[in-house]
């Protein structure tokens, strides 16, 4: 049979969806053939997740039609999607933390009003499914006690238990190490061989090339192309994603490192739940260089930035310009850190870096609210603050150039520019910067990268944390790889490659031992 005569497993026709004034999906049509792995690639905010949430009945489309195996199907809610044989693994898992694996799988797919028979039946099936697809999960483990890799497999099991023929995975590798990702892809290939249809949403080109048969590209809410994976290349896909040739390399000269600005020795951090997140970090950053921290999300990078930025306490020693800083007690807060010449662009600008309901000008004082330049006697000097904001807005080309707009009303890129302007213009000795370009459009990415390099060339020390390996490779002068709260090793970006870094990110050192 040729592809033309079989009905597509899924066909979407003219799907549109708006959230208030924002048009998330515009007239999208796509055909996914049964028994294939179909990739959907696009930048953050391109509308991939929205589209899949519509297919799963999580959101309701404003316009458009859905066909499952050739039949027009209404999917008003997730129940309907499940009945139509669709299962979805969300980027943020939808699991009940204090339930067991078994209870999570059964939830919503019980056989009758009483629990006991449902659980007994599910247990049998779970063991069978688990063996068939090498999922290796313990049905009686509590979700909060198992790792993210296994939690993801529970999500897959949930879909399979509901007899899903079509499985949608939204950015499944974001929280996985390269080897866990490989395990996942093996599972997906196995499912495909069983005849299941898989839709893989990602923004990582490598995954698309590795595992998909067909790939659709989304850009700003529109579907720009659908091509066979074997007939395309990463540069072509990248161009389709962003709409023009991407400048993956950052223009920079060799670093001229000076004295040590930051010296960290045996730094340990234990979180509120009693889990040790940093297990003895040692590193130095010198003036005039960028130290990049690579790693899979959740291996302690966030805690490293937080403890350096004064957002949590720890033990060990940190020297800034040779002088120790407090790691606990009342002088270990972010205010004291700023006074010591440390600026911090946090990983999550919406939760931490900005107050979304404050005006732009109020946000420019955020963290520097006790700066004498912003105060007049007992009160704050709002006029001076607004003048300073206007100057920053102009220098960093923030749009719209209106200090009276609330932070939430700027685009992601312009929000980030406000944060970066605030921190870099303090002319800090040390800049901590986490995920500088997450959710930021290409134009702003280039601008922010240039600012980072300019600060480096002005002789300042920069500690960069990013989960985007490309970003680490192109900005850093040295790369340290973190795994499980430890630094696995340091590499020179000009001599290392993604494969070597990937192994370190998975905790595999030269001696072959996994930590």
């Amino acid at each position: 049979m040729s592809a033309d005569t079989i009905a597509p497993a899924i066909e979407l026709k003219g799907i549109s969806k708006a959230f208030g004034p924002v048009q998330a999906n515009k007239d999208i049509s796509i055909r996914v053939m049964p028994g294939t792995i179909h990739g959907i690639i696009g930048e953050n905010g391109a509308g991939k997740s929205t589209l899949m949430s519509i297919l799963y009945g999580f959101y309701k489309a404003d316009k458009g039609e859905i066909f499952i195996s050739g039949t027009k199907t209404e999917i008003p809610d997730s129940q309907a999607a499940i009945r139509a044989g669709i299962g979805m693994v969300f980027q943020h898992f939808k699991l009940v933390e204090n339930f067991t694996v078994l209870e999570n799988v059964v939830l919503g797919a019980e056989d009758g009003p009483l629990l006991k028979p449902s659980l007994a039946k599910a247990r049998k099936q779970l063991v069978a499914l688990s063996e068939e697809y090498e999922l290796n999960v313990d049905p009686d483990a509590l979700i909060e006690d198992i790792g993210v890799g296994m939690q993801q497999r529970v999500e897959i099991l949930k879909a399979l238990y509901r007899k899903a023929d079509i499985l949608i995975l939204d950015e499944p590798t974001g929280v996985l190490t390269p080897s866990e990702a490989d395990h996942l892809f093996r599972i997906l290939r196995g499912l495909k061989d069983e005849g299941k249809t898989i839709i893989l949403i990602t923004h990582k080109l490598r995954e698309i090339m590795d595992v998909t048969d067909t790939v659709s590209v989304m850009r700003r809410g529109e579907m720009t192309a659908t091509v066979k994976t074997s007939e395309t290349s990463p540069p072509q896909l990248a161009e389709l994603m962003v709409g023009r040739k991407v400048l993956l390399e950052v223009d920079k000269t060799a670093a001229k490192p000076g004295a040590n600005v930051l010296e960290v020795t045996d730094l340990k951090v234990t979180d509120a739940m009693g889990v040790q997140r940093l297990k003895g970090i040692n590193l130095t950053v010198r003036a005039g260089e960028v130290l990049g921290i690579a790693g899979v999300a959740g291996n302690g990078q966030s805690q490293l930035l937080e403890v350096l930025g004064g957002m949590c306490t720890g033990t060990g020693s940190i020297l800034v310009n040779g002088e120790p800083i407090d790691l606990s007690g009342k002088n270990s807060d972010a205010r004291t850190r700023r006074k010591r010449g440390i600026a911090h662009v946090p990983e999550d600008r919406q939760r931490e870096g900005l107050i979304m309901d404050f005006y732009a000008w109020e946000n420019v004082a955020f963290g520097y609210q006790d700066d004498p330049a912003y105060s007049k006697g007992l009160l704050m000097d709002n006029a001076a603050l607004r003048a300073d904001t206007e100057a920053k807005i102009e220098r960093f080309d923030v749009r719209p150039a209106n200090p009276w707009l609330n932070a939430k009303n700027f685009s992601g890129g312009n929000q980030q520019k406000i944060v970066v302007a605030r921190e870099i213009e303090r002319n800090p000795d040390l800049l901590l910067i986490g995920q500088p370009t997450r959710g930021v459009d290409i134009g702003a990415i280039e601008f922010i990268h240039k600012q980072i390099i300019a600060l480096r060339d002005a002789g300042k020390a920069i500690l960069l944390v990013s989960v985007e390996l490309d970003e680490i490779m192109s900005l850093s002068d040295r790369i340290a790889v973190m795994f499980d709260g430890q630094i696995m090793g340091e590499r020179d970006p000009s001599t290392t490659n993604e494969k070597e870094l990937g192994l370190l990110m998975a905790g595999v050192t030269e001696t072959g031992a996994a930590a």
Partner: protein
């Protein structure tokens, strides 16, 4: 203190614990589903008035009970509308409901019965009368066990026994049925329930409705069994004590029973400060006895006696991403 006094105090403990227990279980269903409810007080008060009013007018306490449940459920519906449908602040909604009940009951009572905001006294079939358990009279004189059976276990109104049965009933419903699994899930992570194809709104309304029924029984008990008629503000903070018991019990049914019995005992002792004085050999102000449940709850909340972790999604309206 002699044996009989002890039995009497325990007997009044059971009477006073009953409305607390019903309200506490009501709060348990609501909060386990992720809906905080500080409006237990108001729902009980509304139920107390309407059951007394209808029981008096019709002469049937059972119709009164139904009316009480209906009034309480109407307020539950309002709480659901505000906090589930319109995603409003659950605490503010609860505060509003307490005032609404406090004002409306007096207003309606006054315009209906013209007795200064109270209902006429209930007599005969308009009240829940004590039930004498089988052989209670006959065994009355058996030493030790006789008085326990006759005075303590027998001779309560039917609602007391219903409240006690609600404890294993709630436990079974929560931990052994599909509904219970889903209800507990929706209070922990509503997104998990939603993506599993179950209506979060439906489940939460169901929980709030159960809460309404139980508060309704609690209120009816106050005005038709514990006392004979409605008086202004007759709940006297019991809704808040039930809330305190719920935290004390860490949102678990059996623990709720013990917490409510403890708080009921404190209330019973506050009525018999002479007994407390003779046992402790010091004079304890009854103000202290009365506020002990509140003080104990603060101590529990402060985490000095283990940590009380409420359901994770509690107090938050469910909004899909964005």
């Amino acid at each position: 203190m002699d044996f009989l006094t002890l039995i009497q105090i325990l007997d009044s403990t059971v009477r006073l614990a009953t409305p607390l227990l019903l309200a506490c279980l009501a709060g348990l269903f609501s909060e386990r589903a992720g809906i905080f409810d500080i409006g237990l007080e108001g729902k009980m008060l509304a139920a107390a008035f309407f059951s007394a009013a209808i029981a008096f007018t019709t002469g049937s306490v059972w119709l009164g009970l139904l009316a009480g449940i209906g009034a309480s459920m109407a307020l539950s519906g309002l709480h659901g509308l505000a906090s589930i449908t319109f995603r409003g602040n659950q605490l503010i909604s609860g505060v509003a409901i307490n005032f609404l009940a406090s004002g409306l009951t007096v207003l309606i009572a006054q315009s209906w019965f013209k007795q200064g905001g109270r209902t006429p006294s209930l007599i005969g079939n308009a009240r829940f009368e004590p039930i004498t358990l089988p052989f209670a009279e006959a065994l009355q004189n058996v030493p030790f066990l006789g008085p326990i059976y006759y005075e303590l276990l027998s001779g309560h109104s039917i609602l007391v026994y219903i409240a006690m049965l609600c404890v294993p009933g709630s436990w079974y419903l929560l931990y052994r049925t599909r509904f219970g699994l889903r209800l507990r899930a929706v209070g922990e992570n509503p997104a998990a329930v939603d993506t599993a194809g179950i209506s979060v709104i439906g489940l939460r309304f169901a929980a709030v409705a159960i809460c309404g029924i139980l508060c309704g029984i609690a209120g009816a008990y106050l005005s038709t069994a514990l006392q004979a008629g409605f008086v202004k503000e007759m709940t006297a903070g019991r809704g808040y004590i039930a809330l305190a018991a719920l935290i004390f019990a860490k949102w678990r049914p059996w623990h709720a029973l013990f917490a409510c019995l403890l708080f009921g005992l404190l209330q019973a002792l506050a009525l018999r400060s002479d007994v407390v004085e003779s046992v402790l050999q010091v004079s304890v102000p009854d103000q202290l006895l009365n506020s002990l449940p509140y003080i104990l709850t603060v101590i529990i909340l402060a985490g000095f006696v283990g940590k009380a972790i409420p359901p994770r999604a509690g107090g938050e309206a469910y909004v899909k991403e964005r």
